[in-house]
């Protein structure tokens, strides 16, 4: 039965309390541990399609009569368009439509960041569209940009009100401390760089009926945003995304390119594809913003934390949001006195966008490095320091739905123990060391989300839901859940997704919410179908329904009878069994979080400043694991991205003009296969007994969170140097080494730098 309840919804660390219609979650959880199909390795259901190049991504969709758009973007960080002549573009070969400021709300004559769209063209070919753009004459008045985040904060140029959090009294905590450490940490702006650039195709079926193919993480969000902006009925906007080539948080909405494409499509009466180039992608589709973190920690001599304080500056850009960089400080440790302030600087730089655990990646780097600097001062083992300050109940006195962080620490011990042997392998200029860092994040998902299950006479099962698989293996995990519940082999189950007109509402694929939001809905739909099969079986075999169950492709009776499922299905003829299911509510008043710890091993060349990551062990607690193979892939991918953030990735802008200097993949350097260390992943794999019929949390984001700090802490272990900014370029590594040598000369080992 559907009920109207008030529940908390969390996406990317933001809680909202809303009324939602939820359905009862009647199924009891499965027992812990591997089952028949859930909990076992499963290669991707759509693996062959993707590997053979048959999967149709938005980039591969070609509609009859389709035009291609090109967008004129501001070359300046801040400028005024004093004159704009679109006429030459209108008469250029192949051009069907041209739009400028005033035609679409995202086009402007006062661009405020480099890459902000000003005008756009649709032509028969993308080459013609780009050529036509060159004919547009623009008279620019270049204006002084604001690029320094500290200056923006001082001038109170902010994207939103500062977020402040306080418990206890920070000054009192510092006064009670035996040791206080203070340090400033910085993280650079980094770019998502999904392999498939942002793009969409818009086709109008009528003046008020729109179809959109788009590379997105949230087809329903795109649908609703377009409907709202364009004044359409949401059901008159169909959004399709069958396969997509990566998002990492940057593809949660329609984006300016879709609004531009929709207008050009309307003007031209033709479908219009607006696909960004890599250079546009790396300028204007979002980023993980840079941060400056001024942190302080105080502790008693026994390691008990007495104070944690942080002033955080998020260099957000012209628009976007100020992420919870102080989140780890707020949630991770038992400490009575905590004070946090986060400022989101509004700058003439490209807007940020959510990027895999926004805020927590950056904030964990600062906090977990600070903890190790504290551990060095206290002469307490870093792992022990984290155990001493383990938080048993949430600071707001809410119970955790489940928390196995202590178990993660226990599983980390053998990896942590390796440090003596690793250090001993230092030779010549190459110093080796081991570091660790803890992880905390959300990832509980929430309602609403729905799924349907269809079973035909041949016994094949189709799961239908209008979700998207962004590459995380969602199709496979959902198929495993349905197969488990129905007691059929995995190859009998297919999952149909990716079309808002052809399936029920499904959750966003962001915020590590896909599995915890969708999984329970799919299980519930499969359970509904299973119940119907057993109803029929009870009649057919003259049994009481309560003694029957589905197992191994059979209908099994407690009294020993067993019949192939096909014996019921073949009775269906053209009839079908249709199950429906919904995601139930989250546990009321409980904090649903994910936890983990990573242990990194590094080698540092103290002469050149080169850093190599040699091994990372990751232990995460995300509830029940559906597909261990896919889970390991998620962990490895998160760690590889984190290594990029930590050692080589940095979006550079000219500090005077604001121009993005790293728009290409040779200037913006991402890890390659040659940069990957040995990665060991382990999971606690205990269902969260309070969370849904599945007990699973999300895993997309947790693995990218602690890696940077674990690497930085390993660098300290190897060299005694405190790196305080990422990426750890050779300059930063050599600076930290110099500072450590000076400190040693002055005989104040381990003292914080001024």
């Amino acid at each position: 039965m559907a009920r109207l309840i008030k529940t908390e919804k969390e996406v990317e660390g933001r809680y909202e309390e809303t009324w939602v219609v939820v359905e009862e979650d009647v199924l009891a959880q499965w027992p812990a541990g591997p089952l028949e199909i859930v909990g076992h390795d499963a290669p991707k259901k759509d693996g062959l399609e993707r590997a053979r190049g048959l999967a149709t991504y938005t980039a591969d969709v070609r509609l009859n009569g389709m035009l291609h758009a090109a967008v004129l973007r501001s070359p300046y960080a801040r400028a005024r368009v004093k004159g704009l002549d679109l006429e030459p573009a209108r008469s250029a070969p192949g051009v069907h439509a041209v739009v400028g400021p005033g035609d679409v709300h995202v086009l402007t004559d006062e661009p405020s960041y480099p890459g902000q769209p000003v005008a756009a063209v649709a032509a028969d070919t993308s080459w013609q569209a780009r050529e036509a753009l060159k004919l547009i004459e623009v008279e620019w008045e270049e204006l002084e940009p604001l690029l320094d985040p500290e200056e923006a904060v001082a001038r109170e140029e902010l994207v939103e009100e500062p977020r402040r959090y306080e418990r206890g009294d920070l000054e009192r905590g510092l006064a009670e401390a035996d040791v206080v450490v203070e340090a400033e940490y910085r993280t650079a702006t980094v770019l998502h760089n999904s392999m498939e650039t942002h793009q969409s195709i818009c086709r109008w079926l009528d003046d008020d009926k729109l179809e959109v193919w788009i590379s997105t993480q949230y087809i329903w969000g795109v649908r609703d945003a377009l409907a709202r902006q364009l004044g359409l009925n949401p059901d008159d906007v169909r959004v399709v995304c069958e396969f997509m080539g990566g998002g990492f948080g940057s593809k949660n909405g329609p984006g300016d390119y879709t609004y531009i494409g929709a207008k050009l499509a309307k003007r031209s009466g033709r479908p219009v594809k607006c696909a960004l180039t890599r250079r546009e992608e790396n300028t204007a589709t979002g980023n993980r913003n840079a941060t400056i973190q001024r942190l302080v920690a105080g502790a008693k001599a026994d390691g008990t934390l007495t104070a944690l304080g942080g002033e955080f500056v998020n260099a957000v850009g012209w628009a976007g949001f100020s992420p919870m960089t102080g989140g780890p400080m707020q949630y991770l440790y038992a400490c009575d006195n905590v004070r946090i302030a986060e400022h989101g600087a509004k700058l003439n730089s490209p807007p940020n966008a959510a990027f895999r655990a926004p805020g927590f990646v950056e904030g964990t780097f600062g906090l977990e490095c600070l903890l190790d600097e504290l551990a060095a001062q206290l002469d307490v083992d870093p792992l022990e320091l984290r155990r001493i300050n383990h938080l048993d109940t949430d600071p707001e006195s809410r119970a955790y739905s489940s928390k196995n962080l202590m178990e993660c620490y226990r599983l980390a011990e053998p990896h942590w123990e390796r440090r003596h042997e690793v250090r001993a392998r230092s030779e010549g200029p190459w110093k080796r060391g081991v570091g660790l860092a803890s992880q905390i994040w959300f990832g509980g998902g929430g309602p609403p989300s729905y799924a349907w299950v269809r079973i035909s006479k041949d016994g094949r099962v189709t799961v239908i839901t209008a979700m998207q698989d962004i590459g995380t293996g969602t199709r496979t995990a959902m198929a495993q859940i349905a197969a488990e519940e129905l007691g059929v082999p995995l190859d009998r189950v297919e999952v149909t997704l990716g079309d808002s007109a052809r399936g029920p509402y499904a959750s966003i694929s962001a915020g590590s919410s896909t599995t915890p939001s969708m999984g329970p809905a799919v299980r519930s739909a499969a359970g509904d179908a299973a119940r119907q099969i057993l109803e029929l079986a009870a009649q057919r075999f003259d049994k009481e329904q309560r003694v029957l169950s589905l197992k191994g492709g059979n209908i099994v009776s407690q009294d020993g009878g067993s019949w192939p499922l096909g014996q019921i299905c073949e009775l269906l003829g053209d009839g079908q069994i249709l199950g429906k299911g919904a995601r139930g509510p989250n546990p009321t008043g409980m904090r649903v979080l994910t936890f983990g710890v990573q242990v990194a091993e590094v080698a540092v060349d103290v002469e050149t400043g080169e850093v190599r990551v040699e091994r990372v062990a990751a232990i995460h607690d995300v509830g029940r694991i559906i597909n261990p193979l896919g889970a390991r892939s998620q962990v490895e991918g998160g760690i590889v991205q984190a290594i990029g953030h930590t050692l080589c990735e940095e979006r550079l802008i000219d500090p005077h003009t604001g121009k993005v200097l790293t728009p290409t993949l040779d200037s913006y350097r991402m890890p390659t296969i040659a940069d990957v260390p040995e990665i060991v992943s382990e999971f606690v794999d205990l269902p969260d007994l309070h969370l849904t019929n599945l007990g699973s949390k999300g895993l997309g984001e947790p693995p990218i969170i602690p890696t940077a700090a674990a690497i930085a802490n390993a660098i300290r272990d190897a060299t005694g140097a405190d790196v305080r900014s990422v990426p750890v370029t050779r300059e930063e590594m050599l600076r930290a080494l110099r500072e450590a040598r000076e400190r040693e000369r002055e005989g104040v080992v381990g003292a914080p730098a001024a």
């Binding site: 993707r50 991504y57 080539g245 890599r278 991918g637 590889v640 993949l665 296969i673 040659a674």
Partner: protein, 145 residues
């Protein structure tokens, strides 16, 4: 009109001088397995083979291909690497995967039993933003299993 041999099939192309091989493969021939991700030769998503040598089709002018035989992912449909990639979970979003498999196919053709070092050297030009690298290495190491 210049001729092109793609996956053993002869095609005439009407592409203008200056068109890239990638544009012709995707646009004219509809072979969309070859992907465009950067369009300037930095990422490897557009990798095809020319007479067995891995080549970036986004920066190869179609009129320079000549008689060399083009092999795209569509021509490697049943290559054991396709299956080893799936088995090893060597793909996430899959957008770079055709290029990865073409590069790997060229590698195993030249070195049938590549070591990890061979793989890390020969495949470093194929970027995978999802970070499936450990599994890609495993897929290539176990391609004949």
């Amino acid at each position: 009109m210049p001729e092109l041999v793609v996956n053993g099939q002869r095609h005439e192309t009407s592409a203008p001088v200056g068109a890239t091989l990638l544009e012709v493969l995707r646009g004219e021939l509809g072979l969309t397995g070859t992907k465009i991700a950067c369009g300037e030769g930095h990422c490897g998503a557009c990798t095809v083979m020319l007479d067995g040598a891995p080549t970036l089709s986004c920066i190869t002018l179609v009129h320079t291909v000549g008689a060399r035989e083009v092999t795209t992912i569509e021509g490697l449909r049943d290559h054991p690497l396709v299956h080893s990639f799936v088995r090893a979970d060597a793909l996430q979003c899959g957008f770079c995967t055709p290029g990865q498999i073409v590069s790997a196919a060229a590698l195993v053709q030249a070195i049938p039993e590549p070591t990890s070092e061979d793989i890390r050297h020969h495949m470093a030009g194929n970027i995978c933003r999802c970070g499936a690298y450990p599994r890609i290495e495993e897929a290539v190491l176990t391609w004949r299993d």
